[in-house]
Symmetry: C2
Subunit: 213 residues, 2 copies
Amino acid sequence: MTIASVPTSGLAERKKQRTREELATAAITFFLQRGYDATTVEDIVAAVDVSPRTFYRYFPAKEDLVLAIGESHNEELVAAVRARPASESPLTAVQNAIRQTQVLGPQDLDRVRSFRTLLSGTSALRGRWLIERQQDQQRLAAALADREGKAPEVRHVLAAAAVLAAVTIAFDEWVADGEGDPVTRVHDSVALLATPLLSTRPSHAGSTHGDKA
Amino acid sequence: MTIASVPTSGLAERKKQRTREELATAAITFFLQRGYDATTVEDIVAAVDVSPRTFYRYFPAKEDLVLAIGESHNEELVAAVRARPASESPLTAVQNAIRQTQVLGPQDLDRVRSFRTLLSGTSALRGRWLIERQQDQQRLAAALADREGKAPEVRHVLAAAAVLAAVTIAFDEWVADGEGDPVTRVHDSVALLATPLLSTRPSHAGSTHGDKA
DNA sequence: CCGTCGATTGACACATTCTGCCATTTGGCA
DNA sequence: TGCCAAATGGCAGAATGTGTCAATCGACGG
């Protein structure tokens, strides 16, 4: 045998992967069609022809299926922030990190839209996702603190919260009015963090991309 | 009869109120003792001697029982922000509004601690509560925009998110290390919003209260 | 090709939350 | 006292998960 049974690289492994994807595909399709709550686990497994019990072996909960789709994006972001040179200001580092991680192909974009649409439309999902975002918040705060060679303080956590809020708000607005491309919106939203958020002046922090309006 | 049957002011009303409080008290006690998940609705209603069905007539869901305890605090905050004179800067208005609404007696403080402890320890509750906070976020954003005589823009939503994040982080840290009083921590946390959050400088935004350290 | 081993699966039972329904009780009020 | 509306209790049932065990399937060595 190999060292362990971790990557059984073979037919069985592909079959598992295929089942997992079939479950996810069928589920997302149903969710977008009929809504998350109106789709039961029974419906999903019927479409893939596995037992309900098997569903929960692939996904700990119905919610986790959706979460798995949009997962790990923020982990990349945090890693990218850590990878930025220490000479960059926190804002610049975050902006560049976002630029690096937000490279989306056209079909990625569809996937993200589906994901965000589900998030916006289902409070159960949204709540679950916000929990995960709080963990990302801690990780980002730690990354920002590390850049200063300090232990995380309230200031860092707050900055991290603000960054993630900016990204989230940008996506929410994008899903809500369906206009423009999300990358620009995210960038503009994050750019607002350059200013004291509670000053009255709009401080002309417009789009860094194409705002010829 | 009166205009309608809204306030049946009498014995029945008191009995209902008493049942409601007994349910809440028993539930919170159990939650803090054994944990939220380890306490079933069955346990709660057994302690008050009502049927499970009745529980759900008082609280739409188990989560709502907890949420009802810490509720409406942010509504006051938003109202207070609206009530501040237009001459005040957004930050000052928010700070004064917080000062007004955060007047806590010693037993209020215990209640808040219990509430926040449950929030911190139970992700299901936390998620549910974060959803409600997002609604507060929208309301606060609208209030901030109104102060400028504008419709809410991304900038306002982001500012509102930052304010609520500051408050939340302050409470979280308070619950986590159990030191100091929350009012000071909230104030200090919110004071950080006076600066661009992603500048490297700590910008000496220390406690406005007693920081002789 | 065969047989064994380990992982995957299906099924069944069960706990828990929450809802719909209806009969019963209880308080309010003439 | 007696009627009415509201509150309650109990029951059946849907839906999400979880634990358990036997059956199955793929991997691998002979």
